[in-house]
C-alpha cells in the first residue's frame, strides 16, 4: 500500500508553492513513498512519555535590550530586488486578505 498519493503530493506542492510537471509529480510520489516507507520504522520506537527535542541544547532563549539601531540603507535594502518601485518591492496585485 502506498503511503502517499499523487493527490497528496500535489497538495503539498500547493502549500509549498511549487508547480510539478506531470512526470515530475509521478516520480516524486514514488520517491516520497519510498522515503516514507523507510522513515516509518520510527513507528516501532516506543516513545510514550518521551519529551520531544526541538532543540539540542536545553537553554532559555536569550533576550536582547530594547535599543533601536539603524538597519540597512534603503538602497542596500532594495539593491537585490528583482523589481522595485520607488523604495518598495513590486509584485503582481495582491488580493486583499487572500492568500497568494
Amino acid at each position: 500500500m502506498s503511503r502517499i498519493t499523487r493527490v497528496e503530493v500535489e497538495r503539498m506542492a500547493g502549500l509549498a508553492r511549487l508547480s510539478l510537471a506531470d512526470e515530475e509529480a509521478e516520480r516524486l510520489t514514488g520517491e516520497l513513498d519510498t522515503i516514507l516507507d523507510y522513515v516509518d520504522a520510527l513507528a516501532r520506537v516506543d516513545t510514550v512519555g518521551v519529551e520531544p527535542t526541538a532543540h539540542p541544547m536545553p537553554l532559555a532563549t536569550p533576550l536582547r535590550q530594547d535599543r533601536a539601531e539603524p538597519g540597512l540603507a534603503p538602497d542596500a535594502a532594495l539593491r537585490n530586488a528583482p523589481d522595485a518601485a520607488g523604495t518598495t518591492f513590486r509584485v503582481p496585485k495582491v488580493i486583499e486578505g487572500g492568500e497568494a
Binding site: 500547493g14 502549500l15 532563549t61 536569550p62 533601536a68 535594502a77 513590486r90 497568494a100
Partner: protein, 483 residues
C-alpha cells in the same frame, strides 16, 4: 439588521502593537509614517542567514498585560512558525506562539447599559506583525507595492472567549482593553495608527439556548481598525447570517471583509480544511523562560487599573460615574486629577477637568501631561473661582494661559486685572445702566418671564468685561426688578 430569534455569539482577536523602541526580533526602530523600507535590516527583510533575537522589553510589556488582566503568565512559552506565503510576510512564516502561549486565561471587565460583566480571555500570545502594501505615484492597477517597515513590529494577540453578545459589548470590550493597555504602558493602542486591530469571530444560535455551549458556524471578519467598523461589522454580519438562516440556509465557515462604505460584510474566502499553517516550534528560538520571581516583580509594579480606579473615584471623591469614567480614561489624567484634588475642592476640580480642561485639550489634540498645566495650579485656580475671586469666564482665560505657559493663577489673575468685581457700588451702577437701557425687560419680568434675568446678567457681565461676580449681580438685579 435585526436578528430576531437569534443570539449573537462574538469572540474577538485583538492585535496590539507593543510600545517598544525596536522590533520584536531585530534592532530596527519602530516608527510610524516613515518612507517605505527605511526601517529594515537583514532580519526583518528575511535575508538568507538572518536570525531572530527576542526583544526583552516586548516580553516585559506582554507579561504586564497578562498580569493586568489576571491571566496566568506561563514560565515557559514557545515561539512557533506559522507557515504561509504572502508578499508582506518576508520569511514565508510568521513567528507567533501556538501551543504554548505566554499568557493563558484572564478577564476583562466591561460595562454596558450600567451593568458590569467579566469577559474571559482564552490567551494572550506574542507575535510579529507583517509588512503592508503601500500606494504611490508609480502605482499601476495590476500591481502591489510592499513596504516592510512594519514587518517584525512586536504584537500581542488578545483572544477572548466567545462571550460577547452585541456590537455594544464588543466595542465596550475594546475600550476596556485599550484602557488597560494604556495603563500598564503596553501600548498606545491607537486604532487610527493601526496599533490595535481586531478580528471578529461571530456566529448565531437560536434564542433560548443561552448558556449552552452549542454554537453555530462562525465567520471571521478580519482587520477591523476602528471602533466604528467593529460595531458596523458585528451588526452587518449578524444581519447577514440571520438572513441566511431565516432563508433556511447554512452559514459557511469563511473569512469576511467589512466594507465601511456600504456597511456590509462580504466573503473574502471560504475556509477550507486546506488552511494548513504547519505550525512547529521555531528552531531559531529556544523556548522563552520567565522566572517566577520576575513575574512577581512585574506584578508589584502594576498600576491600579481603570475599572478599579473609577469605582474608587466614585466612592472616595463622590464623582458621578460619567465623570469618574472620563477621568480614568488615561492614567496621566487620573493621576493629574488626584494630585489636583488633594490640593483643592474635589468636585470643582473634577468639573473643571471634565468640562474645561478636556475641551481645551481636544482643540490642541494633546494629552494633559504634554501641557504646562500643573495639578497645583488647577487646584489654586478652582479655589479662586469657588471663593468668588475670579469669575468662571476669567478663569477660562487663565486656564488657557496655564496650559500654554504654566504659572501661578494668583499672579496671573492679578497681573491681568481679572479679579472679580464684587464691589457693591460698581455693580449697582452697572445694573442700573442696563435696566435703564432695557426698560421692556423689566416689563417682561413683571409679566412673569423670569428668563430675562439671564439676559440682563449677560449685559452686566459685558459691561464689567466678565469680571463681575455673577451671584452678586443676580442678587442686585432681582432686588431692583422686584422693587
Amino acid at each position: 439588521m435585526s436578528a430576531t430569534g437569534y443570539e449573537t455569539v462574538i469572540g474577538l482577536e485583538v492585535h496590539v502593537h507593543l510600545k517598544t523602541e525596536s522590533k520584536l526580533f531585530c534592532r530596527c526602530p519602530v516608527r510610524y509614517g516613515e518612507e517605505p523600507n527605511h526601517q529594515v535590516c537583514p532580519v526583518c527583510l528575511a535575508l538568507p542567514g538572518a536570525l531572530p533575537v527576542v526583544n526583552a522589553h516586548a516580553v516585559e510589556l506582554a507579561v504586564r498585560m497578562g498580569l493586568a488582566v489576571g491571566g496566568t503568565v506561563n514560565p515557559r512559552s514557545v515561539f512557533a512558525r506559522k507557515n504561509y506565503f504572502y508578499p508582506d510576510l518576508p520569511k514565508g512564516y510568521q513567528i507567533s506562539q501556538f501551543e504554548d502561549p505566554l499568557v493563558t486565561g484572564g478577564e476583562v471587565e466591561i460595562e454596558v447599559d450600567g451593568g458590569a460583566r467579566r469577559v474571559r480571555l482564552t490567551r494572550i500570545h506574542m507575535e510579529e506583525d507583517a509588512g503592508k502594501s503601500v500606494h504611490g505615484d508609480w502605482e499601476r492597477g495590476n500591481e502591489s507595492h510592499m513596504d516592510l517597515n512594519r514587518a517584525g513590529t512586536p504584537l500581542i494577540e488578545v483572544v477572548s472567549e466567545p462571550e460577547l453578545r452585541s456590537a455594544a459589548e464588543a466595542t465596550a470590550f475594546l475600550r476596556a482593553l485599550r484602557g488597560i493597555l494604556r495603563y500598564v504602558g503596553a501600548s498606545d493602542a491607537d486604532m487610527e495608527k493601526g496599533q490595535m486591530r481586531c478580528d471578529v469571530n461571530l456566529s448565531l444560535r437560536p434564542s433560548g439556548r443561552e448558556g449552552s455551549d452549542a454554537y453555530g458556524t462562525r465567520t471571521e471578519t478580519k482587520n477591523l481598525n476602528s471602533f466604528r467598523s467593529v460595531e458596523g461589522a458585528v451588526r452587518a454580519e449578524t444581519a447577514r447570517q440571520a438572513e441566511v438562516l431565516d432563508d433556511g440556509g447554512e452559514v459557511v465557515q469563511a473569512t469576511m471583509l467589512f466594507d465601511p462604505g456600504t456597511g456590509r460584510t462580504h466573503l473574502m474566502r471560504v475556509k477550507e480544511n486546506s488552511d494548513d499553517y504547519r505550525y512547529f516550534p521555531d528552531p531559531d528560538l529556544i523556548p522563552l523562560q520567565i522566572e517566577p520571581v520576575r513575574i512577581e516583580e512585574a506584578r508589584g509594579t502594576l498600576p491600579e487599573l481603570p475599572e478599579r480606579k473609577r469605582r474608587r473615584f466614585q466612592e472616595e471623591h463622590g464623582l458621578s460615574e460619567s465623570d469618574a469614567r472620563t477621568l480614568t480614561e488615561s492614567l496621566a489624567l487620573a493621576d493629574f486629577f488626584e494630585a489636583a484634588a488633594s490640593r483643592g475642592p474635589v468636585r470643582s476640580v473634577a468639573n473643571w477637568l471634565v468640562r474645561d480642561v478636556l475641551a481645551l485639550l481636544k482643540g490642541r489634540k494633546g494629552e494633559i501631561e504634554q501641557t504646562a498645566l500643573r495639578p497645583e495650579a488647577l487646584a489654586a485656580l478652582v479655589a479662586l473661582v469657588d471663593a468668588g475671586r475670579v469669575t468662571a469666564s476669567s478663569a477660562r482665560e487663565v486656564l488657557r494661559e496655564l496650559l500654554e505657559r504654566g504659572g501661578d493663577p494668583e499672579v496671573l489673575v492679578r497681573e491681568r486685572g481679572l479679579e472679580a468685581v464684587s464691589d457693591g457700588g460698581l455693580l449697582e451702577a452697572a445694573a442700573d445702566e442696563v435696566l435703564a437701557a432695557n426698560p421692556e425687560m423689566a416689563e417682561r419680568y413683571r409679566g412673569g418671564d423670569g428668563k430675562v434675568v439671564n439676559f440682563l446678567m449677560g449685559q452686566v457681565m459685558k459691561r464689567t468685561q466678565g469680571k463681575a461676580d455673577p451671584g452678586a449681580v443676580r442678587e442686585i438685579l432681582i432686588r431692583r426688578l422686584e422693587g
